[in-house]
Every structure is written in structure tokens, then in C-alpha cells.
Symmetry: C2
């Protein structure tokens, strides 16, 4: 066993208590697995550098999860659950060492019926869709990291993505049907959270119980066609994207306008992104392609059109959207970062235009049309040329001053990262029940105060 820098004093006893639950203590591996994609943010990159768990534990069943939870509670060891760690806020980075709980082994599909799947949190989302495809079904929503991300990781650390143009975000009633969680106590128990109650684990970064099963509603797995459409201007891509987003007869999964020069960083599909032009990346059901093209008319030029696929060998176009857009540029230029914006639905085009005009040198426009609260609007992950933390804060403040909601992606706590700058009251209250000692991902829900030790 490699030496661990300042491990938790009870670590050895804890590991002994885990019996045959797989454990890795080799420091380089544990450090590597303790990271997520927080490095998109220069602020978080500085703050989270070097943070690591002491031990990686990989349970294969809910019973093993309970065994880990019991041991951590008994020895007072922090426990940070992780899926594929594709998040960008340090969700899965342990701030206080302890156990990194790898849930990727919980991949059982319990059942699929009536348009719903119940499965373990560790299933990779593209693998789940591949399993569902023969039944003509697929997940309603997925992040751009679908080929790596897990179902549980998305629920615990995400908010929406591809599919949100039809179903809205994970917060919408009905988009998470139920979650089963395990408490962190000397004698852990499982709790079934149904309906609204399942929101207690949504985007809670694993602070409110360890997810061991999820019941997720499904969508019809239409044959999807993905396209790149080139426009002379970003405003043109936005305007047509908005019209397409509002066209309820056109079945769609993704509408993402992206300003030049971002497409110049789109490695494999660079040849389909004409120099100097904005692009719109879309996923439309095959049955709606003809209508989509009729709506487009002469407004833009389709430069690429092909069946969408998650299979290896071809990068799905959704991997150039949402925060993958940022990633494509970061691969070439580490001097950029990004924001998370939500524009007002009743003046979405004007508002996006204002923000682009306000920061002509610093902001590279990039939106996704989504439904939010039943209305079509745009969220955005604009790429920002980073100068200083103060300037980044100022850019966000200017957005908010102009009616654009910001979910700050440069902070590590739930509270600071939410649009409302506070933790959900339900989540805080629930945490007291399920993690009274505050061992779950400590430091991420900063408004939580553990109960005094008995």
C-alpha cells in the first residue's frame, strides 16, 4: 500500500470494517479519481487543486453501500459519492478526504414498464439507451457527457441537457419519478423518495443520501437526425433556432446556436463549419426533417446531416454543445472559461443580443434553446476569455443587472451555484434526517450545520 498523505486516523479501521467491498488506496489512483471537470473554471481549479479522498471504495450492491455508510458513520469518515465525475463544479471532489464512493458498479436494471425505467445509479447513460432501444425507448434528457456520465451522476449533479427543448429540466415535475437513497448512520436504512420528494437528491451533489436506485421516465426513441446549419450571423442562428424551438409539430431534441469562432475548434466536424459563420447544431426526429428544412427555407445552409448515434467511431454532434462547446475550445486555449445563463423567455433574442454586444471581446455566444417552466427560452454556456476573478464576477453581475439569471459555475457550494443563491429548504431539512453527522460530501452544502454529537 502506497503512503497516503495525512489520511483520516480511523481509515485503517474503516477499511477493515468493509470486508470484501473493493477498495483502492494507491494514492495516484485515488487522487486521479477524486477529480472532475472543475478545471473549466480557473477559480475552482485553484481552489480544488490537490484535493483528494483517502480511499476509493467501489460497492457492487445496495447492501455493500450500506456497509460503507455504516462504517463511515461509525468512524466519522467523510464520504463523497461519485458517478463518472463528468461535472464541472467539483461536485465529486472530496474537500476533506475520506471515502470516495464509486457508484459505477450499481448498474442493475430492475424493470422497464409503462414508459419508465428503474435502475441503479451507476449505469452509463448511453449504455442504458442502448439497452432501451429495442423497446423503442430512451431517456428523456441527457447531458453532453452521455457517453461517460451515469444516470445517478446526472440526477445528483446535473440540471438538464439534450432533450430539455421538449421536456424541460430535471426539476420539472415528472422528470425524476423516484429515487432510493441510503442514509449515513451507524445503522443505515434505505428511503424511497417518490415524485416531488425525489427532488431532494436532484443537484444536491450527493449531500442528501447515497442514491442506490432511480426511476426515470422515458421518451420514444425516434430515429434522430443530427445536422449542422450555417448562418451568416449568430443573431440569424438564434432567430431561426427560436422559430424551430417554438414549432411544436417538429419533434426535436437539441437546438444549439453557436457563434464563430467557437466552431473553428470543432475538430472532427470543422470542415462542416464554414469560416466566419455561426452554426446551429440540431437533433430532429427523422419524421420531422422535411418540415425542419421547409421552416429553414433559405435562412441557413445545412452543411452536415446524418443519423445521430452514440456508437463508437463517430463523435455525436451533441458533443459540440452544452458544456462540450467550452471543452472543444479549452482543448486549444486554456485561457477561456464559461458562464451559465438563463435568458428571460419573453425577450430572449433581444437579451442574448444585448449580452453579446456588451462584451464583444470577451464573450463568445453559445446558447441552447430549452423549455423552462413551460416556456421556450434559451439557456447559455457562453465561453468567456478569462482575465481576472474580479472581471469574471463583474461580467456575471452585469448579466444579472440586465435580467439574465446566472448559476455561477465558479463556486463549489450548492448555495453559491444556484440561481437563487441558496440551498433548497427541502434538501437542507432532509439532510438532517439522512446524514445527521454531515459526512456526505462535506463542504458542498455550506448552510448545513451538523447536529451536535451525542
Amino acid at each position: 500500500m502506497t503512503a497516503i498523505p495525512q489520511p483520516h486516523p480511523k481509515l485503517g479501521a474503516l477499511i477493515d470494517a468493509l470486508g470484501d467491498v473493493p477498495v483502492v488506496t494507491e494514492a495516484a489512483t485515488v487522487r486521479k479519481r477524486s477529480r472532475d471537470f472543475f478545471w473549466y473554471s480557473p477559480i475552482l481549479n485553484a481552489q480544488l487543486h490537490g484535493k483528494s479522498a483517502d480511499v476509493l471504495v467501489s460497492p457492487r450492491t445496495e447492501a455493500e453501500v450500506m456497509r460503507v455508510a455504516a462504517a463511515c458513520a461509525r468512524f466519522g469518515v467523510p464520504i463523497t459519492p461519485r458517478g463518472a465525475a463528468t461535472g464541472n463544479y467539483g461536485q465529486a471532489v472530496p474537500l476533506h478526504g475520506g471515502v470516495l464512493l464509486d457508484l459505477s458498479g450499481l448498474t442493475e436494471v430492475e424493470w422497464v414498464r409503462g414508459g419508465v425505467v428503474r435502475c441503479g445509479p451507476g449505469l452509463v447513460m448511453s449504455e442504458l439507451d442502448a439497452m432501451l432501444a429495442p423497446q423503442g425507448l430512451e431517456q428523456r434528457l441527457h447531458p453532453s457527457t452521455k457517453r461517460r456520465a451515469t444516470v445517478g451522476g446526472f440526477v445528483a449533479g446535473g440540471s438538464g441537457g439534450i432533450g430539455s427543448i421538449t421536456y424541460g429540466g430535471l426539476r420539472e415535475p415528472g422528470n425524476i419519478r423516484a429515487a432510493r437513497i441510503v442514509t449515513v448512520e451507524p445503522e443505515p436504512h434505505a428511503i424511497e423518495l417518490r415524485g416531488d420528494a425525489a427532488q431532494k437528491v436532484n443537484r444536491a451533489y450527493g449531500t442528501t443520501g447515497i442514491i442506490t436506485a432511480l426511476e426515470m421516465p422515458l421518451a420514444p426513441a425516434w430515429p434522430w437526425v443530427e445536422m449542422i446549419v450555417a448562418f451568416d450571423t449568430f443573431a440569424g442562428a438564434m432567430a431561426f433556432g427560436h422559430a424551430a424551438a417554438l414549432a411544436d409539430g417538429i419533434v426535436k431534441k437539441l437546438i444549439a446556436p453557436i457563434a464563430w469562432p467557437l466552431p473553428s475548434f470543432f475538430a472532427e466536424v470543422r470542415p462542416f463549419c464554414p469560416e466566419g459563420r455561426a452554426v446551429l447544431i440540431v437533433m430532429v426526429a427523422e419524421a420531422s426533417v422535411e418540415s425542419f428544412k421547409a421552416l429553414l427555407g433559405g435562412d441557413g445552409d445545412i452543411t452536415l446531416e446524418r443519423p445521430a448515434s452514440d456508437a463508437p467511431g463517430q463523435t455525436p454532434l451533441y458533443e459540440y454543445t452544452w458544456n462540450h462547446t467550452t471543452l472543444q475550445m479549452l482543448k486549444a486555449d486554456r485561457g477561456v472559461t464559461y458562464l451559465q445563463c438563463l435568458f428571460p423567455h419573453d425577450r430572449v433574442l433581444e437579451s442574448v443580443g444585448e449580452m453579446c454586444a456588451m462584451f464583444p471581446e470577451e464573450l463568445l455566444g453559445h446558447c441552447e434553446f430549452i423549455r423552462f417552466g413551460g416556456r421556450v427560452t434559451a439557456s447559455a454556456l457562453p465561453v468567456i476569455r478569462f482575465s481576472t476573478p474580479e472581471r469574471l464576477d463583474a461580467i456575471m453581475a452585469l448579466h444579472e443587472a440586465h435580467g439574465v439569471m446566472i448559476a455561477n459555475p465558479h463556486v463549489m457550494t450548492l448555495e453559491d451555484g444556484s440561481r437563487h443563491k441558496r440551498a433548497d429548504a427541502d434538501q437542507i431539512g432532509f439532510k438532517r434526517e439522512v446524514d445527521p453527522m454531515g459526512l456526505l460530501n462535506p463542504g458542498k452544502m455550506r448552510s448545513f450545520v451538523p447536529a451536535p454529537r451525542a
Copy 2:
């Protein structure tokens, strides 16, 4: 052959020219089949009383349709296509005698693939859904007359219905993929109208060619649950219905708030409509029922919940919505009629409330939530206690003066019945091509002037 009152002078020659295409000339039958449900309107009832074709012709193939069209063109005989004649504007009532073209024999399903069906116009919509069900598919939209109405009749005379809360109306790009029509000329030909072009036959009352095939996009056939929810007030039913309509994670097909005393006329389900209370009739996917109930909370009381079915033996709840609401009351009280309203999406609840308050004695509130142009709003078919035509006009004018769009259902022409009070320019232009002599359903497109005879 029974004597026909004032038949077209060339009728005998025309019938001879039809060969073995089935023909009925028995006057009582022809008169009966020449009616639709225009009698919901006291105005139309007076105007259309006694209108009848001279002969009912029932082709079984497109070739036979062409034979009829050719004969009508040669002998200058009017030709009025009809599906199941479930419309309410006299769409299928021949104003000038001639041929009533019964298209209910064209029922071939050419193919089903990629989420699309291509079929004859005469298929009854519930029968088509029954055929599609084994593939997990169904039609996106249907009228409340689904168990009688035909696919072609809906396209030619309808605008939206059950399903419009998700897909909008038939006018939305993508909701009619293609239509094949036959022209009325001495040598008829068929024209394929794809995408936008297919709108040339939508709600044109059969004036712009005889539909012989339609390509319609499909939706997933979720197991649907239908419910009646009782509310103390119509405003309460509207407010919750609006919230449910905006909940994109809840998959739904119908949300119809209906004010008391309308539910007192709902024969079979009267026991589930509590005295004095408004009801909301909904169809929700089984997977979304739990979320729907969570959203409802204590706002209303579910008095009936059961699997939705078009099968004989049970009246589907959608037959208490859309214009079936009016019908249920008309069965008991012939003193009522109805309006067709579209409320502004940005103040829908206020606007509906204003109209209810403006006509407390005359207007019985009844709405359907729909998507229109990508926004959730309400259309309405309020029941009106009829006094005089002048008062009916005044009520409609007052709606329009308060920002509510009206499609007048008490007029028989396309122009007067549209929200914009004019025929679609595309439809008029197209009619010149496909029906140069103006023989198709003459009198319904009043702005059309036939070309001078050569």
C-alpha cells in the same frame, strides 16, 4: 330511382359515365348524408336547412375518384367531398347540389415507418389508432369525434384537438407531412403536396382538390389515463389546468376545464361531476399520473380515474370535451350554441376570467389548453345561451375588442370562419390550378372566382 327535386340537368349522363362506381340517388338517403353537425349553430341551421346533393358517389380507389372528377368536370356538376361529416360549419354540405363524394372507402394503409403513416383519407381515426397500437404508435392529434371522424375529414375540416396541448394544431409545420390530391378537370391528375404545401388542403373544406392519401406524423402510444378532477370554481380549474399545461415533464394529451352547469349534462359520467363544481378533464400518460397528482396536491378532487380507451362500451372522456361539451348540453337544451375563441397566451387566465365575468348569464365557460405557435394558451368553445343573431355577433365582437381571437363558427365560408377573416392566399391560388371551374364544394371559398369558360 326515386325522383330527385330539381336535379342537375346533366346528372343522368354523369351517372352513366361513372360505370361501376357505387352511386345512391335515393333522395332521403342523399339528403341525410348531405348534412353535417352545422345544427350546433342556429344561424347555419337556418341557412343550410334542406341543402342536399343530388347523388351520393362512393369511390373505392383513387382511379375511381379520378373517374368521378373527370365526369363532374365534363358535365359541369358540383362535387362536394365528405369524410364522416362530423364538422360543425357545414363543411360537407353541398350548397349547389351535384355529387356528394363519400371518401370513406379509401382506407388503405400504404405504409407505416419512421414514425409516419401514409394512408387513405377515409380511415376512421380510432380504427387507424387501433391498427397502429401494436407498433406503439398513434396519431398526434384527433378531434373529439375520433370514433367517427376520418383522417381526411380532420385534415380538410379541422384544426386541432386532443393532442394539441403537446403538438399544437394541424397548421404547425410538421403536423401534416404530405397530402396527395386529385384535380377536377376533364383529365384529372394527382398532385403530391409535401410539407408546407400540404397546408393547401388543411381546413379548406375540400375546395382545393380531392384528398386521396395523407402522410401523417405519429406519436408514441403511451398508456393514457383519463381523469375527472373537481374544483370549487372554474377559475380554480383554469389555474391548475394552466400549471399542468406548463409542466413539460408531465406527458399529456388533454386538459379541459369546464364550468358548472355544463358537467350536469355529462350523462354517463354525471355521478363523477359533483353538483355545482367545475371539472377538469385530463388525459395523462400513465408514467406521469403520480407527478400529475403531486402537482394537483389538495387543489382539486379526482372523482374518476381510469385507463383511456376508444373501444366500444365506454364513452371516452374526450367525448365530453372540445365541441362534444356543447353537444352534451345540446342533447338536453337546443337553446344553446357556442363560440370558438383563442386567448392571448401572456394573460390567458385573466382573459378567460374577463369574458366569463362579462357574460355571466349567457356564457358557460369551457376551455382546452393547447400549444399555439410554441406557447401554452387556451382555446375555448364556450357554450352560449342563444337569443338573437345580433346578440351573438355582439358577444363575438366584445371578445375581439378585448383581445380574444374569434373563429366564427356560425358562417359557412372559409373566409368568414377564419380568425383572419380571409382565405389563405396559397389556397386560393392553388384552387385555380386544381379546380379551375370551381366545382369543388362551391360557395365555401367565397373569394374564389372561377376562370371564364373557354
